[in-house]
Subunit: 254 residues, 2 copies
DNA sequence: ACCTGAACACCGTTCAAGT
DNA sequence: ACCTGAACACCGTTCAAGT
């Protein structure tokens, strides 16, 4: 994937004074502060900042390079493709979610509630980037570490391996869908800067009453009165279902 | 949105014989059969076919126009933008899901299970198109009609308005996430035609055992042994949770 | 050793002309 | 009245050169 290995370690490289590169460095220092070397980390964090600020559609290799003060070719010396940039951005985001080993007295239900809420909050804090997670399963180190940890915790609480995995998958599905659909309550066709954005709620309200009576009446409810509450409701449905299953199997019914 | 209205009705337009247009029509008839007028319907169904066949990334206005035997300008005389094409494609897909008024003896649970399974099956049958639904709430007529119908059915079965809406939203979330993540068990970086696709399962299995023991052990379970079963499991968790809530409220606990 | 401009083969969208 | 080629301002990616 990533073309850097040892070279990345050397932060300052030798510049023969008086050489063109030296002059180059001088003049750059004049207009943009000290020259900062391009590293994968810097590319990724800059890409994320650009996405947050201007949206996913505005992230191009050209824009990204310009933001870093170089050309696109320099980017390709560190990374193989734009897809690689996006994969690293996704993992960076997951890394921001604090999925930690919790206090020992937490129940399995608390564990998974905490994980789900924390992950959702992190995703929602980067609304422009969320579609990245709709297009590929994150398999960067941060994503893997988090999944492995949660599975261990669930099993430590006595859930069977199968149930642990199934519950994790179901909950991750719920988190993704919620983060994905949350920002959609506003229409944003094309650029978010487009002036006339109609809220989904108002759209429902303006429909033909004879054709869509239910949608009009339930407009508020359907458009996530409060996204967090909506999320918690779905999560509690899932976890109630899990609890039921655990009870049944402990009573030997299953 | 859609620029056609009455003009669309005229299927054959008068061509003065001998005029350049007439010759044009003749020669086209020679190499591509009879000239078929471009309509919104034809644009949309061709776009969907193109997406199914070659993937979302390969749908460009140029490709689409070529497939229809015209230029891009002609497309823009019928539709305002590529986004409009995509919105219509999404609604076309939803229209394929048969969301029908069921037999009168179906329980609320059967109703919503049928709807969820049918919708998921339809989405999964257009794997290349599913990401469309991750990027905007479908609000075409087919989508609206289906949502309105299901809400009416749930309320007809005695669910409160609020519960009906909340359940619908939770279940739609589940369907979307499941359809979105299902095809991801294969890696497909960039083109699907790229040769070396590693399955997520094999990827998990090849991880470092000391770092990710849980992921290795649960690789099968995590990667959707059977996507339908995984879907049904999550759905049954949700609906068990709903049932619990109904019982509680009918006993006056809630 | 590093970085650049320019090119290749594409995009979505719109224009002034063509018949 | 309809359709076209060509253009505009972009893409991801790679090339041969530059210093």
């Amino acid at each position: 994937m990533n073309k850097d290995s040892a070279e990345e370690v050397a932060v300052e490289w030798p510049v023969p004074p008086g050489s063109p590169a030296w002059w180059q460095a001088r003049s750059d220092a004049g207009r943009a502060g000290r020259r900062v070397p391009v590293t994968v980390e810097r590319i990724v964090s800059t890409a994320l900042a650009l996405i947050d600020r201007e949206g996913l559609q505005r992230l191009s290799m050209r824009n990204l390079a310009a933001e870093l003060g170089t050309g696109t070719t320099t980017l390709y010396r560190h990374l193989a493709s734009k897809d690689e940039v996006l994969a690293l951005v996704a993992d960076e985001i997951i890394g921001e979610a604090q999925i930690e080993r919790p206090m020992s007295d937490a129940s399995w239900r608390q564990v998974i509630e905490d994980v789900a809420r924390s992950l959702r909050e992190t995703l929602v804090s980067h609304p422009n980037a969320v579609p990245l997670f709709a297009v590929s399963v994150p398999v960067g180190p941060n994503a893997l570490r988090a999944r492995n940890l949660v599975l261990g915790l669930l099993r430590g609480h006595g859930l069977s391996p199968k149930l642990s995995a199934d519950v994790l998958v179901a909950v991750l599905h719920h988190v993704l869908a919620s983060a994905l659909l949350d920002p959609m309550v506003e229409f944003r066709v094309g650029e978010p800067s487009n002036p006339p954005t109609l809220s989904l709620r108002d759209f429902y309200r303006g429909l033909a009453p004879d054709t869509y009576p239910e949608l009009i009446e339930l407009a508020d409810q359907l458009t996530g009165n409060s996204p967090e509450k909506e999320f918690d409701f779905g999560l509690s449905l899932l976890l109630d279902g899990v609890e039921l299953r655990i009870e049944r199997s402990s009573r030997g019914i299953d």
